[in-house]
Subunit: 503 residues, 2 copies
Amino acid sequence: MTEHAHNRLRVVRAGIDTYQQPVVYMHRDCPVCRSEGFAALTRLQMQVGAQQVIATLNVVTGDHLAVDEVALSDAAWSAVTPVDGAFATFQHPEPAASARALRAKVFGARLNDADYLALMRDTADNGLSDIELAAFVTACAGERLDHAETLALTRAMVAVGQTLDWGGGPVLDKHCVGGLPGNRTTPIVVAIVAALGHCIPKTSSRAITSPAGTADTMEVMAPVALDLAAMRRVVEREGGCIVWGGNVRLSPADDVLIRVERPLDFDSDGQLVASVLSKKVAAGASHVLIDMPVGPTAKVRSDAAAQALTERLTATGMAMGLNLAVHRTDGRQPVGIGIGPALEARDVMAVLRVAPDAPADLRTRALAVAGALLDLAPGTSPGQGLALATQALDSGRAWAKFLAICEAQGGFTEPREAPYQAPVLAPRAGRVGAIDNRRLAKLAKLAGAPGAAMAGLACTLRLGDPVTAGQPLYTVHAQSPGELDYALAYARAHPEIVFLEAT
Amino acid sequence: MTEHAHNRLRVVRAGIDTYQQPVVYMHRDCPVCRSEGFAALTRLQMQVGAQQVIATLNVVTGDHLAVDEVALSDAAWSAVTPVDGAFATFQHPEPAASARALRAKVFGARLNDADYLALMRDTADNGLSDIELAAFVTACAGERLDHAETLALTRAMVAVGQTLDWGGGPVLDKHCVGGLPGNRTTPIVVAIVAALGHCIPKTSSRAITSPAGTADTMEVMAPVALDLAAMRRVVEREGGCIVWGGNVRLSPADDVLIRVERPLDFDSDGQLVASVLSKKVAAGASHVLIDMPVGPTAKVRSDAAAQALTERLTATGMAMGLNLAVHRTDGRQPVGIGIGPALEARDVMAVLRVAPDAPADLRTRALAVAGALLDLAPGTSPGQGLALATQALDSGRAWAKFLAICEAQGGFTEPREAPYQAPVLAPRAGRVGAIDNRRLAKLAKLAGAPGAAMAGLACTLRLGDPVTAGQPLYTVHAQSPGELDYALAYARAHPEIVFLEAT
């Protein structure tokens, strides 16, 4: 549709952070609002020079914006990067090409490859609003995505992003299906596998619904927001890296979907598979190990659920040309001592340093995952993986490799301790009968994690441990008194987070 | 959780219209953001005096807000109505009581009465974010609400709003299951039924996904935003009214759900039934007629769909104690000449005035609906309804009653004509084989309806009419050149909106 002369506004910066969704502010009496009939929450297409973005309109009814100006939220500003005194033009966006497909999926239809490609293109281009994204995520929840659709969604996510090429050799990768606080094996596995001469260019995500993602934890020890060129330099030098995937624009549609999955606090089987495997394929992986913790309060709660997810991962992985194996692990209780970026980083380093007080469960898990990944890789005689991994860790080669990777990524820093700490005490004596991972995660988030990197909690108890009345069950760490209070209030309200059986 | 002394900010008005969702703006460096760990898009609970509201946070990174101030969007402002120099305190909201139920529904579980009550209470209290509402609407789409759940949702919607009492006598009501442009029978039916001495206190909605709701159309002729007291005065004086339901807070949860259903442009069977019947029960209706247009491009597209919806409406209506009948009508083409508030009002008035050029189809439909409703009502010998209705209309008593109702609602005004009009011409000769209601509605919306009350389109053609090349198929009406252009561009892009068969 044609632009109109009356359809130009001077761009100013609103200085408002609206998270990822671009918002523009126009005065109620501005000529564009009047002539185009834009009203609050209208989605409009804004053009500044050669840059275009679809943004949501908020209408300014006060007098702090001129009628010939448009104010851009931080997200809108960085999307069009205006020069000084730039003008913006506006028009009604064409209906999203995927609108029909979205509607069909909401009403239970099966979609084809073209539908998912259109949906993921519009998603990656910010052509869908948050509520449309929420509708899509919900329409795919539970069993509403079959295998063929999962594959189509995965292909589409790969297609709308960039794909890395590491020169054709075997490229190793691993992923944990999550839901298990403190299960931070990735930095250890990457260090071990890279120390053994394999190529493992690992991209990790920030927390979606957990108190810390691997990227959040790694960022406490080294920069992770590397662009693709920087990531390449690290991998060429050290064979491995642990960087945040968001800057590399692998499967960008997935990064956008996370925006609604995070506050909704759920993602579905099909979406989980598409999210994981699209990232792996885009990252150029050839051999992928999936760590799947199973437990009543883990993300995968039952053997049946694990079986279904394993089949979906394996079938989709094979169809995407991956050499993939699923390694099922015990998900009944947290791993390591810390929950939260800095606290988990401390555990990771203790294991890598082979410290005497290193959490044994994290060490055991990391070695098992590394071993299984090595068994999957070419050049390892089956069953030798675990021995190789253990040797690389105990010899200090993994720790040296980890430090080298941190240096290559921009420099290693030692994690610091939170200024505010308080223990949660056992109301009575007993034996630890169960630990509610979901509530522990919620508590760590109330304490400020992952936004506050030092926040979270430390818990050394394990199932079956005896506890005396008044003994600390876990310690809450926070960077502000307010957040410490929230976490402790939540702990008081949920005394069963660590369930004590009578002995 | 306790409030904190450092947790107070001076309230100022942001002067920003964010539609219904309350938004608050805090400076990045403000003590509350820092101590509470609030970040962009955090949902927080704000207290001002005795008033509380859950709002979404936008973080101000510029310097136009003091660090000890909080700026409130229009919606947030009207939710807490601050006095001069008021202070607000903030805390993390308790997780919505309905969060667990929402998650269960998203993953396909059946919910019980208590679940739906919790969901609708949180919905009405604005305790759910837009993306959570979008997830709920999607989780209920298609066949995902069974009869029992539909009834539970309906009861919950009634329970969280107020219910009107008209003194125990029979109270008539009607509703059209939309999807048919121009099918604006309500003002005519109310006028006829009230003229015959029945009580028909009609509350109507504004457009959800259509170019005009009955409230939008009625508002062109008389005020509709009456509060409950004013509505009572009108009904006590004239026996009937046609007011906007939003101000009366009948089924307020439904009004909130509309906020996401509108941009998503879909609502589901179960939600449709709950939405319609909760409004009727809350409005105190005892005898309800449902007008259900059926056609390939109407909201109800097939006889099978009509049957399913009829069963759901009847079963739920009976369980809610309503005397309800469904009147199925031809939904293959638009009704009347105009589409859009003022254009539809013009048709309504032509019928009420028994004008020679009044659209015959609208007259016929209005009389049929009024007749069926009268047949349902006590005191009418079955089959006499149509004759009574026709007599009331042709005698001018309905028109007189309509004017009296308009006067009682605040005064009658004659609809005006749009300043910008342009015809869309037939590309070739032929016969009208089909009319795409959905695209016609979309076109009327692009022209500015319902926001621009005079905007829309006028079409006198009917199925089977012969058309010569270059003859106007319909005329687009707009209040701005920009909107006229958008509508015409859309018409050019979709020449098949009025499909011409070769003759």
